[in-house]
């Protein structure tokens, strides 16, 4: 059995993309009301992830999907992409780096049952650096909403 050293674990952290997503704060909302939730995410330095609208069709976009229910996501506003030109790409890539914010507009159904519901989301991203790409990853998001 190969046992990794501490330096190995540090290397692993430095050599793999990691999207740190801050769990959203709980929300109190009335039946029939609308609210927005900001999701803050930070990709470690040296990596970029495709934006929601990548420049090439073969690239995997950043997506945030919420499970339908009594609290429905109407619209997701994705972080504004930056254009990154890598030496081996014919045209610049549409990417997101560093700290980013995704804003979702929710609507509580008028006849939603009162009480606590947890809205589940899945944030999918695919990251690369200037030498390699990494498998797409999905971060599970939980948004607690108390319907009043």
């Amino acid at each position: 059995m190969l046992l990794p050293s501490l330096s190995g674990l540090l290397l692993l952290a430095q050599n793999s993309p990691l999207l740190n997503v801050v769990p959203p704060e709980p929300v109190n909302a009335k039946q029939g009301s609308a609210f927005t939730v900001k999701l803050s995410a930070t990709l470690n330095e040296g990596f970029h992830m495709n934006s929601h609208t990548p420049a090439e069709t073969y690239l995997i976009p950043l997506t945030l999907k919420w499970t339908p229910g009594p609290v429905e996501a109407n619209d997701v506003e994705y972080p504004k992409p930056e254009m990154l030109k890598l030496p081996f790409e014919a045209k610049p890539l549409s990417v997101v780096t560093g700290k980013s914010t995704l804003v979702t507009k929710f609507k509580v159904q008028a006849n939603a049952q009162l009480g606590l519901v947890t809205v589940l989301g899945k944030l999918r991203y695919q990251a690369c650096n200037d030498k390699a790409c990494f498998a797409p990853k999905t971060v599970d998001i939980k948004l607690p909403v108390t319907i009043q």
Binding site: S7, G8, L11, E89, K131, C133, A135
Partner: protein, 189 residues
């Protein structure tokens, strides 16, 4: 969770080994391959090609193999693929096989059109976690292993490499005869 931890630990260990290996050979590694005595056996595997036919690594014993882990969504992989197409054409008769392992949960409906577009002229298989784990858990793409005629790993590239680097390594492994022939040649001397 445990599986992910094991994969992370394996990858971490592999990276340590790669870095350790590179620390002594990186200067040479740009032009050359690992000395024969330091090469580890490439784990055998069986995967299916697009027609469902099993492809087994050990069936290529006696040939040199470039084992390329790639994905259709990987930009750096797209840079290397035309090189491999050229190498397959150029070195096939000298005993080189390029074997592409498609990674990343894509099926043939995505891979085949991509392969046609890229004019891929070498065998492709779809990889899986079990196979990737045999190779230390493949996280970064492209990852390419150059395997000598005796089925041992002569060189490893993680990430985009240079065409010249590949070419030099391929030439080296092709120039070396498989072990029984070397032994027979030594006896004859």
């Amino acid at each position: 969770m445990t599986r992910h931890l094991i994969r992370a630990l394996s990858l971490s260990a592999l990276i340590v080994l790669i870095i350790a290996g590179c620390s002594t050979s990186r200067t040479a590694s740009a032009q050359s391959v690992k000395p024969t005595k330091d090469r580890k056996v490439a784990p055998d595997f069986t995967l299916k090609d697009s027609s469902g036919k099993p492809v087994k690594l050990s069936d290529y014993r006696g040939k040199a193999v470039v084992l390329d882990f790639w994905a259709t969504w990987c930009g750096p992989c797209k840079v290397e693929i035309p090189w491999f197409v050229e190498f397959q054409r150029k070195y096939k008769d000298r005993g080189l096989v390029i074997l592409g392992v498609a990674s990343g949960d894509e099926d043939w409906s995505v891979i085949q059109p991509f392969a046609s577009l890229m004019k891929i002229n070498y065998p492709l298989v779809i990889g899986n976690d079990t196979m990737a784990d045999l190779y230390g858990g493949i996280e970064a793409l492209p990852t390419t292993f150059i395997i000598d005629r005796d089925g041992r790993i002569a060189k490893l590239h993680v990430g985009l490499a240079s065409k010249e680097d590949f070419q030099n390594a391929i030439e080296k492994v092709l120039d070396a005869a498989p072990e029984p022939q070397r032994t027979a040649a030594a006896r004859a001397e």
